[in-house]
């Protein structure tokens, strides 16, 4: 059977109401996004899995309050982001050098796997809020306005986090790998 498009799935939601959609289908649809935000943020596979499961349990409890596919997507990103920050704050910060830091994600089909690995490590070393901004921008391809709404943050703050983080990442990559063509 051919895979159903996002548009078809959206039509389903708006037609029936979010609560009536098969929950397992919803989990399968969003599991990768939720898990990846947690994984890129926490750089810990098992913690990311646990956190993603908790997010879906919370989603199940709040399913009837969600009005549309977009609302659900927004809710999932927001709850995942907040849970990531809560998770980090509950645990004592430990100083780990970048080389000792665990590889946050499985190898991806990237043009330069070494650069990708380094970048994931550098992103994982950013402060909490800027890290989330970068993850939502580049993993979820969200606009600054959307990120500001999800993180309940002024737009100017999101833009400044993004700008500073990019400058920091560029500097770190250049320092570590010499003149890389970026």
């Amino acid at each position: 059977m051919a895979e159903r498009t996002d548009a078809e799935q959206s039509a389903d939601i708006s037609g029936k109401g979010a609560a009536e959609i098969d929950f397992a289908e919803i989990v399968r649809r969003y599991q990768s996004a939720v898990f990846s935000i947690a994984l890129h943020f926490l750089a810990d596979r098992s913690a990311a899995e646990e956190l993603a499961q908790d997010v879906f349990l919370q989603l199940h409890a709040n399913l009837s309050t969600l009005k549309s596919e977009d609302h659900m997507k927004f809710w999932l990103r927001k709850v995942t982001a907040h849970r990531c920050i809560d998770y980090k704050r509950r645990r004592k910060p430990t100083q780990v050098s970048l080389d000792d830091a665990p590889e946050p994600a499985a190898p991806t089909k990237s043009a330069d796997p070494f650069l990708a690995r380094r970048l994931r490590q550098y992103v994982a070393s950013l402060p909490e809020k800027p890290r989330l901004v970068v993850i939502l921008r580049y993993q979820e391809d969200m606009r600054a306005e959307e990120i500001a709404a999800v993180l309940a943050m002024p737009l100017a703050t999101v833009k400044s986090h993004l700008q500073r983080s990019l400058a920091m990442l560029r500097e770190k990559v250049t320092r570590a790998m010499g003149e890389v063509k970026l």
Partner: protein
């Protein structure tokens, strides 16, 4: 250099990093059986009795019995009465304790004053005795 040119240069500079970040932060595959585990946890949570999942004692007030206005007002009135009575009792006890402390202080002061008077009386008696003795010697 105009502002437009500067912006264009900045965009060119960041576009390479943008692409590298997009590639590095691609969505990852979830571990096998992730959805099944979530569904199992959902099922397990459903089977937990409501009582165990009660968040706090405050949720008692959302129980059906408290949703009836008359019961709610009666509960509030009872609560207010208990609070007023409690405060009154506390005030009474505090006043009594303060009175006891004042009484103790007064008793101590009287005792001190009494002993001082005894001392003064002894001194006067001694002085009188000396004076009488001197007078007898002179005579």
């Amino acid at each position: 250099m105009t502002e437009t040119n500067m912006n264009t240069n900045m965009k060119k500079e960041t576009s390479g990093l943008d692409e590298a970040l997009r590639s590095a932060l691609q969505r990852q595959e979830v571990p096998d059986g992730f959805a099944d585990q979530v569904m199992a946890r959902v099922a397990a949570q459903k089977s937990v009795p409501q009582l165990v999942r009660r968040a706090s004692w405050l949720s008692l007030f959302t129980q059906p019995i408290f949703t009836q206005p008359i019961i709610r007002w009666a509960a509030l009135a009872a609560f207010a009465t208990v609070m007023i009575f409690g405060v009154h009792l506390y005030e009474m006890r505090r006043e009594r304790a303060e009175g006891e402390a004042a009484k103790q202080r007064l008793m101590l002061a009287l005792r001190v004053a009494g002993s001082k008077l005894q001392l003064a009386k002894a001194k006067v008696n001694e002085m009188n005795a000396n004076e009488n003795q001197n007078r007898q010697v002179k005579e």
